[in-house]
Amino acid sequence: MSLLAMNDVSLSFGGVKAVQDVSFSVEKGEVFSIIGPNGAGKSTLFNLISRLYDCESGQIFWQGEEITSVPSHRIAELGIARTFQNTELFEHETVLRNLLIGKHIHRRSNAVADMFFLPSVRRQELVFRKEVEDVIDLLNLQHYRDQVIANLPYGVRKMVEVARALCIQPKAVLLDEPSSGLNPEETEDVSFWIEDINEELGATVIMVEHDMKLVSQVSDRVLALADGQVLATGTPPEIQQHPEVLRAYLGDAE
């Protein structure tokens, strides 16, 4: 049984078919990359998985259970965390508080207990804080802990967003273009922490990425997408040699 599977999923915006009969499956523990030219429907796939969009047809399965019509806010509870292409952080809050919000699904207190900050709430806060500090250590964000997001450089924001996703303690992390907007040095780091997430935390990584060097460095399997359709799936070398992919994707670039 695959961790995540999409089965003939389609979605169109107006007349444009953003995603057309896409099927693929991701196994537990993989690093799975989705590549494709701009407008191929990569981010749309993510938005479908995190249920921001509804599928027009087809099904999505998570650990064998259908999640095609699970409401969006339940996705995190299932263990799926994500980042966004242009970062969607809580701009007016500190890094620490952003990460604590990532612990939301683990809360056991209700609003009434919160109002009086009962001892159980305090204990819960301390546990959350400890776990958040572990993530901060993993991604080396100690320096920025108390800074407000709006004052941070773009590269750091991207890291904070990854950290926030990790606070969910997810089974799978969806990374939407982790290296976009980063300098070569930072991109180098990306491959290291993707391996950390995959190996140390045991999370499955699904990412949309343009940087082929990064993709071939870290991915176990790659899915190539063009015009909303699957071109090929395979190991990075296979995909790089695949004639269809070369024509649709790399051919465009050269």
Binding site: L89, F90, S109, Q124, R129
Partner: protein, 360 residues
């Protein structure tokens, strides 16, 4: 500048960051507690009113400043709190019960209004709450059996029979308002340092992110709306006793705007701001009276001077000090802390192009 060395995570949870804060807030508490010994009756009454405004302000601030939802109709919740207080007391419910009850009633109405209104955001919600407030105003006018209609209704005196305590004595009322304000502040501060408050802030800054982190948007927004209405309702019931007589014209759109003015002038997004804002609107009439004496007769006698100044203050604050009095205070403080190294640019606002919320 003070650097605090942190040795435990608990330090980030506590209300006070360091000893200095404990000292200054303690001093403030002491001053407020012994104030009735020194202050004239009249100003004591005004201070009680300030406390009442502040309680309503906490409610509005939770909504506007922390959840990012705008309500142009909070006077309606003030009215519902006030009228349910008066009605419950007329039914013979003892005072200590009516206060929380009318808070609950208002919160329930808030939740009820919130459920449909919260499917939308921004301007839709603002106008929906405005519509709600206008409807409530008309209901009050056209439902004399409960509200006394146009003529209004007398609010029974707040007493605790058991110990024969008349809470409407100026000093007793002052302490009553103070105690409830402190209670409300503590609840608000607790909420803000716990998961519930964080969910509010998350929704304010990015709904999509909040959703993808497992926050249920509409139930969290409804909760924020209900809590906000509840605080305002409690303020309303105290307001009823402060007025002594309820009539529909005490709860108009102007009142809603006055409450928003308090939030804006004090400083959006801080509980400190609420206190500053409440002091500001509480003593606005006195300040205007003083201003009238100083201004040339032609301007001072002009009809509609008060609303004009009201609007002018709003405009000037929003353009020149969007963070309100609290924001200004932070700047002054950092000026002195960093003297003589303060640079104006430290607090310079970043100008950005419009960040649109619309999908193209």
């Amino acid at each position: 500048m003070r650097f605090v060395q942190k040795t435990s995570y608990d330090q980030d949870i506590r209300f006070f960051e360091h000893r200095g804060q404990v000292f200054w807030y303690g001093l403030l508490a002491l001053a407020v507690l012994i104030a009735p010994l020194f202050i004239e009756r009249f100003y004591l009454g005004e201070l009680s009113l300030v406390f009442i405004y502040a309680i309503a302000g906490i409610g509005l601030m939770l909504l506007v400043g922390y959840t990012g939802l705008v309500s142009l109709g909070h006077a309606a919740f003030l009215a519902i709190g006030a009228y349910s207080q008066a009605w419950l007391m007329n039914q013979g419910v003892p005072f200590p019960l009516t206060l929380p009850l009318s808070g609950f009633i208002t919160a329930a109405v808030g939740a009820l209004v919130g459920i449909p209104a919260l499917r939308m955001t921004g301007i839709y919600l603002a106008v929906a709450t405005l519509a709600f407030a206008i409807i409530v105003e008309q209901v009050i006018i056209h439902w004399p059996a409960v509200t006394g209609g146009f003529t209004g209704m007398v609010v029974p005196r707040a007493r605790i029979e058991l110990i024969n305590l008349d809470l409407q004595q100026p000093i007793a009322f002052y302490y009553l308002c103070l105690a409830i304000l402190v209670g409300c502040l503590l609840i608000a501060m607790n909420l803000l340092r716990s998961p519930t408050g964080r969910a509010f802030r998350a929704i304010r800054d990015s709904e999509i992110s909040a959703q993808s982190l497992g926050i249920h948007l509409s139930s969290t927004k409804t909760l924020a709306f209900a809590l906000s209405a509840g605080f305002t309702g409690v303020a309303g019931s105290l307001f009823a006793h402060k007025l002594g007589y309820l009539a529909p014209d005490s709860f108009t759109i102007q009142t809603s705007i006055l409450l928003l003015l308090m939030v804006v002038v004090g400083g959006v997004g801080s509980l400190h701001g609420i206190i500053y804002g409440a002091l500001f609107i509480g003593f606005l009439p006195q300040m205007l009276a003083v201003a009238r004496d100083l201004l040339p007769v032609g301007i001072a006698q002009m009809p509609g001077l008060e609303p004009a100044l009201f609007g002018l203050i709003l405009i000037l604050v929003l353009i020149y000090e969007p963070l309100g009095i609290y924001g200004r205070w932070l700047k002054i403080r950092s000026y002195f802390e960093q003297f003589p190294l303060y640079r104006r640019a430290t607090h310079k606002r970043q100008k950005s192009y419009l960040r649109t919320e619309r999908l193209r």
